[in-house]
Amino acid sequence: MLLNREFRAQHLPWVVLALAILAGLGAWFVVERFRLGEWPGGSTAVGLTLGVVGGVLILFEFLLWPRKKKRAWRIGRVRIWLAGHIWLGLITLPLLIFHSGFHLGGSLSTVLTVLLVAVVLSGAWGLVLQQLLPRRMLEEVPAETIYSQIGRIGRLTRIEARRLVEATCGPTEDERDRFSPDGEEGIDSDEEEEQTANPSYVVVGALRTAGRVQGTVLQTSVPSAPVPGSEPLRVFFYDEVLPYLKSGGSSRSPLAQRHRAEAIFRDLKTQLDPKAHPTVDALAAACDQRRQHDHQARLHGWLHGWLLVHLPMSIALVALMIIHIYVAIKYW
């Protein structure tokens, strides 16, 4: 969630509430410190209150997860929940540290404290990433697409690129064999066919089920006849471009670096008839798209990766907190 000047309306009430809770309970805690001559522990009135409030807040924080899963439920906008999650979550750490009286205690409470710190820090880290990465993605990945569709778009691009090279270089006898060993085209067409062959139902009406997204259309002029002397293009495509389009950066291809890719494509053009240059440009664009999609995948990983830490640890925290409450009440 982006914290900027616009956040006042939905965040301010939560900020005020969080600060009020922190200030009120903090002041009480300090007063008790001076009255008792030492930091009050968890079993004192103020310590217990801090523990109860902290526990309730952790449970509220945890409820964001099921809230986000139940998207059609009308129990408050998720952004309001998230704003509360951020600001109330931030004060759970000081409240529960006050609750502990600045002592780690036994092994369970020590683990709880560590988990709490880790959860709050991972959440804060996620919040920081959310301030930075969406903007970076906007600026650095103009070819951004839906993350889950990157693979499919990559497959379509590879097929288009191959057709373009075929049209420019003309077909060769062993071309199919060279393209087929990895089963690439076979997989693409099989996937489609598998879905349409032998359906276990009859559909009545028009069968267009996906929306049409309109936008800038890449138009490449395809030569009407093969361009003589374009064999280097074919070799380059199968040796360099296709592996890169398929595996991206993990192919260790020089095409993964923009400057090197530009130089390579420039060199390739010098070996080819000018009629084949639009094809080279199209291949360069396909590689650029692959680079951008790799970059998008990396940024996407960072943007959502922290949840792999935050969420499991939150679950563990809630589970251990319940055990802690049970143990505390039982042995009080």
């Binding site: 969630m1 982006l2 616009e6 939905q10 986000k68 139940k70 998207r71 059609a72 439920w73 009308r74 129990i75 906008r77 998720v78 952004r79 929940w81 998230l82 959310q130 990465l133 969406p134 903007r135 993605m137 906007l138 697409t145 839906i146 993350y147 889950s148 032998n198 359906p199 276990s200 139902y201 009859v202 559909v203 009545v204 009406g205 028009a206 069968l207 267009r208 089920t209 996906a210 929306g211 049409r212 997204v213 309109q214 936008g215 996407h300 943007l303 959502h304």
Partner: protein, 768 residues
């Protein structure tokens, strides 16, 4: 050309060759003569024409239609071109048959034209032997005119400059020597068919017609529709007969068609050229003639036997509901299913009892089956405007049908005699069905006796008018003079607003318009709309056939049928209030670039702020969760600055998706969002029409099973239905995509508000 727009002025009386005739003001002398002298096929207009045809805009370049005109007893000094000169009260017209002055002038013109024409006898003989077609047997209008006037070999010598003959086209040969530059082919190509291939090139004696940028006809963008060939008065454009491959089986020969009553008055040359465009088909009882949703550009004429026409798709809409056994008061949606009117009644749902289809019958909502017999024509809209078939037709008995192609149907609807015949068939056989399907007459239908009286009242009072694609039927502010029912095609209803045109709605077959301006004498309407004035502009979007009821007849109708009057008042008040509500919602800004993307047109566009959006896809998932697992938005689309306009229904000001629905099952609510009615046949036309890809087709279980021969077991039948963003109105009116966004990145806004956000337009100063 018949015009939809009359001016309501009193008729004009004049005399042509001593025969009195009374015609509406604005009629040309030639059209008045047609009305006075041509009563049946074979009758001849005393005024000859070469550069003009009834369906063309007159240009008066050949002047063979010149007539002698006297107004109020004073003879005019100059002869007037009858094709262009409008009639006047008390006018006396003398044609070449009664005036020597005119006869001399026309004879001289004809002689001059013949002087530049190849040797008439040789040309005719050459054409007869070379082409073996009927064009030379009397269809050469110049030769015919010369014979009519007794003009023999011209006294003037022929130009020695030989012009080329273009044989590059596979179907039409162009002999520039025979061309008299009447421009009929040019207007036929450009005005009638909108192909814009033929023009003129060169100057003086070198002037000739040309194709595209003076390309040979065969290399040009000519689509070989044949309109130029049938328009040419001299045979300069000739059919290369029998060049094409064998005509399809069942083709009815041109000779037989020419004798067929349906084709009365259609040129035999045209029927020859279009050999194969009319095919006789025999169907056995139970055979499927056509299926709903199919695209075939033909119409059918029933010669013999009976057919059954029906919509087989279930009359149900997509309903999102909680599902059985739901305990959770917060869970608004569990699944999407098909539900009929009995199971789920939606707000603002129309009380439609009859569904208009592309046939001379209507279908009942509760029993969508009807029968048609000999003489009926169906599928005209699918044929003329390439819309999907609106219903399935099955032979009820062994029957014989003529399958008619677009070219031929077009000529049938245009020809004076064939059109008159079709119109009479409509009056006698289809008018009552058409009125049943019209919303405003719904109340009358319940009282059969009164409805019959209504049909009998209207039968002699209706005129059928044809309006071409793009033609304005009437404009906002024009005096109201008639009421219209749409028989075929679609009409755009729009208003001029300070920010540009605002489309109020699109009307399809079975709908009517033009009543508000005629109801100014009724106090309830006078309070809401200016009396006697059109409140909106109506424009034809394709080939539109209208049933026109004159203003005075309409008022008489209201007077004689109080229940119809009440129905019209209720309807007009609803429409006027709905329009007012919609207009209030419309932001009156407009911007060129933004308009190009269709965004200024948007009333509720889903905008994602990409600086805030973490690409978590919660919006898409929420949409799917709210609509039974089927998302109605895709998080991809146009980007403006940092905003992504997601692919989701924008509730456009100009809802193009509504055009072309063969069963009129898509419309806009007063609150602007699109609603799909129960009788959607799943043809996908709306999804195809939406320029933004925001209407999707999804299959829903119908509860029926059919036996699959290949699988050797019963399989469920899924019905495709169109789905689009309903702004979650069926839930609680808060779009789930926005409600579920955790990062405050998803917003619904007007296109003009988005324009302000990205700084295309300045934010208006706050009102103090």
């Amino acid at each position: 050309m018949s015009s939809a727009n009359g001016n309501g002025a009193p008729p004009v009386s004049l005399t042509i060759d001593g025969r009195k005739v009374s015609v509406p003001a604005g009629t040309t002398i030639y059209d008045a003569a047609t009305r006075a002298f041509v009563k049946q096929a074979g009758d001849r207009n005393p005024i000859p024409i070469l550069c003009h045809r009834e369906h063309m805009t007159p240009v008066a370049v050949c002047r063979v239609c010149t007539v002698d005109v006297s107004v109020n007893g004073r003879q005019e000094f100059r002869l007037a071109p009858a094709c262009q000169r409008e009639v006047a009260e008390g006018m006396e017209v003398r044609t070449h048959e009664t005036s020597d002055r005119v006869r001399n002038a026309v004879s001289m013109l004809t002689e001059l034209l013949l002087a530049d024409y190849p040797d008439p006898e040789a040309a005719r003989a050459a054409r007869l032997t070379k082409q073996g077609q009927s064009r030379g047997e009397g269809n050469d209008e110049l030769i015919e005119l010369a014979e009519r006037l007794g003009v023999e070999n011209p006294r003037f010598s022929r130009s020695r400059r030989e012009k080329p003959i273009d044989e590059s086209s596979m179907v039409i040969a162009v002999d520039h020597n025979a061309c008299i530059l009447c421009d009929r082919c040019i207007r036929a190509c450009n005005d009638i068919r909108n192909n814009h291939v033929i023009g003129r090139t060169g100057k003086g004696y070198k002037t000739r017609i040309a194709f595209d940028l003076d390309d040979p006809m065969g290399d040009s963008s000519c689509v070989a529709c044949g309109e130029c060939m049938i328009s040419c008065p001299t045979g300069a454009l000739l059919s290369k007969h029998h060049v094409l491959s064998r005509p399809p089986a069942g083709t009815v020969p041109a000779e037989e068609l020419a004798a067929h009553p349906l084709f009365t008055g259609v040129s035999k040359a045209f029927l020859d050229f279009n050999e194969g465009a009319v095919v006789r088909k025999h169907f056995r009882k139970g055979d499927v003639i056509c299926r709903e949703g199919d695209y075939d550009a033909t119409a059918y004429y029933i010669e013999d036997g009976e057919v059954e026409i029906f919509i087989s798709s279930p009359f149900k809409h997509v309903k999102n509901h909680r599902g059985a056994g739901s305990w959770n008061p917060f869970a608004l949606v569990r699944n999407s299913l098909l539900a009929g009117r009995g199971e789920d009644r939606r707000d603002e749902e129309m009380d439609t009892e009859f569904i208009s289809i592309d046939a001379p019958v209507v279908l009942r909502y509760d029993k969508p089956v009807a029968t048609m017999g000999p003489g009926a024509i169906f599928g005209e809209m699918a044929c003329m405007s390439s819309y999907p078939r609106s219903a399935t037709v099955v032979a009820q008995t062994d029957c014989t049908l003529l399958e008619v192609g677009r070219n031929v149907l077009y000529i049938l609807q245009r020809g004076k005699f064939s059109k008159a015949q079709l119109d009479e068939r409509y009056r006698q056989n289809a008018l009552d069905n058409h009125l049943r399907g019209a919303t405003v007459f719904a109340r009358m239908v319940k009282n059969e006796d009164e409805f019959k009286k209504l049909v009998e009242f209207l039968r002699p009072r209706v005129d059928l008018v044809r309006v071409n694609n793009g033609e304005v039927i009437f404009r906002q502010g024009d005096p109201a003079d008639a009421y219209y029912l749409i028989r075929i095609g679609f009409v755009k209803v729009s208003q001029e607003r300070p920010g540009g045109e605002f489309v109020l709605t699109y009307f399809g077959p079975g709908k009517s318009f033009g009543e508000i301006g005629l109801m100014g004498h009724i106090p309830e309407i006078r309070d809401l709309a200016p009396p006697g004035i059109r409140t909106a502009t109506c424009t034809a979007l394709d080939h539109v056939d209208l049933v026109k009821i004159k203003g005075e007849d309409f008022r008489l109708l209201l007077e004689q049928f109080p229940s119809v009057q009440k129905s019209f008042i209720d309807y007009a008040i609803t429409i006027l209030k709905q329009n007012e509500r919609m207009l209030r919602q419309v932001n009156e800004d407009s911007l060129g670039d933004f308009l190009q993307q269709g965004l200024m047109n948007a009333q509720s566009v889903l905008v994602l702020d990409l600086e805030k959006c973490t690409r978590c896809d919660e919006c898409t998932k929420a949409c799917a969760d709210s609509h039974g697992g089927v998302t109605r938005l895709i998080r991809e689309g146009l980007r403006f600055d940092r905003f992504l306009v997601a692919s989701s229904c924008r509730s456009c000001l100009d809802p193009y998706c509504m055009v072309g629905c063969p069963v009129n099952s898509i419309r806009r609510r007063g609150s602007l969002e699109i609603i799909i009615e129960d009788w959607c046949i799943g043809c996908g036309k709306c999804a195809e029409n939406c320029p933004y890809g925001n209407i999707n087709m999804h299959p829903f279980p119908t509860g029926q099973n059919v036996f699959d021969e290949e699988l050797r077991r019963k399989v469920p039948v899924l019905q495709q239905k169109a789905t689009t963003c309903d702004l979650c109105r069926e839930l609680d009116g808060q779009p789930s995509c926005v409600y579920a966004c955790p990062h405050d990145a998803a917003h619904r806004m007007k296109g003009s508000d988005l324009a302000r956000e990205i700084g295309i337009v300045a934010t208006p100063p706050p009102v103090r």
